[in-house]
Symmetry: C2
Subunit: 140 residues, 2 copies
């Protein structure tokens, strides 16, 4: 089954990266300004794009502090439905290795390639937010 | 078989994107400054990183002007050996859609995820080079 994989090293501690993946304030600083989220397993986070033309609803399936965040996508785009996004963190000498996986795609023929590029751009924004205080989130 | 896929739209004509993928001068402006390349099927292009600590050698397998570039990797990293990189271009109203595929990986457990993120960064550099004149190539 096709999946999107990305891995990068961020010069920040795992606790800081974990916070940036789980709190609304930080998610709004690197992914999209239109966020409803709380760091609670079983909650449903919402990420809006283009004035709510698209809203990704994510069931927060797993949260392990400083280690892992896992969302199951409930909707927003037909190809995203029931896909899973996992961000795994590992401490290294100079920061945190972030491994990103977006799996469960039925096909790689549709929007997967566009999403793979876009995810990398948002992960670069996450890195910049944590290293410089300045991300490049979508305006929402 | 695992593959890296990315897709992006660049505000430049297919002829300009094709040139940026096939001439040494342009490749040096967005991928790595250490380039030996010529737009000739059957030639072997070389892309050096970290003062030639790593040199990717690419057999230029296919060149279709304004449409497609395909390289087969002869070496540089064991996991890249015999993988294939294809960049396909399609004209659209506001520029060119670039579809990037790096296929033939034996496994997604090794450096694939790092390469996926890095490729997206270099494709963003290609876009910036073509749209603003300014890329962010590796110093080589």
């Amino acid at each position: 089954m096709p999946e999107i994989l990305h891995q990068l090293t961020i010069r920040a501690r795992p606790a800081q990266v974990y916070r940036a993946l789980t709190t609304a304030e930080a998610l709004a600083a690197w992914w999209t300004r239109d966020v409803v989220a709380e760091p609670a397993i079983g909650s449903v986070a919402q990420f809006g794009f283009n004035r709510r033309e698209v809203v990704f609803r994510m069931f927060v399936q797993e949260l392990e502090e400083e280690k892992r965040v896992r969302w199951r996508c409930l909707g927003g785009h037909p190809e995203w439905r029931d896909t899973e996004i996992t961000l795994s963190l590992s401490a290294v000498a100079d920061g945190t290795v972030v491994r990103f996986a977006h799996g469960g795609w039925k096909s790689s023929d549709g929007i997967l390639a566009v999403c793979s590029f876009d995810w990398a751009c948002y992960l670069a924004s996450l890195k910049s937010y944590l290293e410089t205080g300045c991300g490049s989130p979508h305006p929402g």
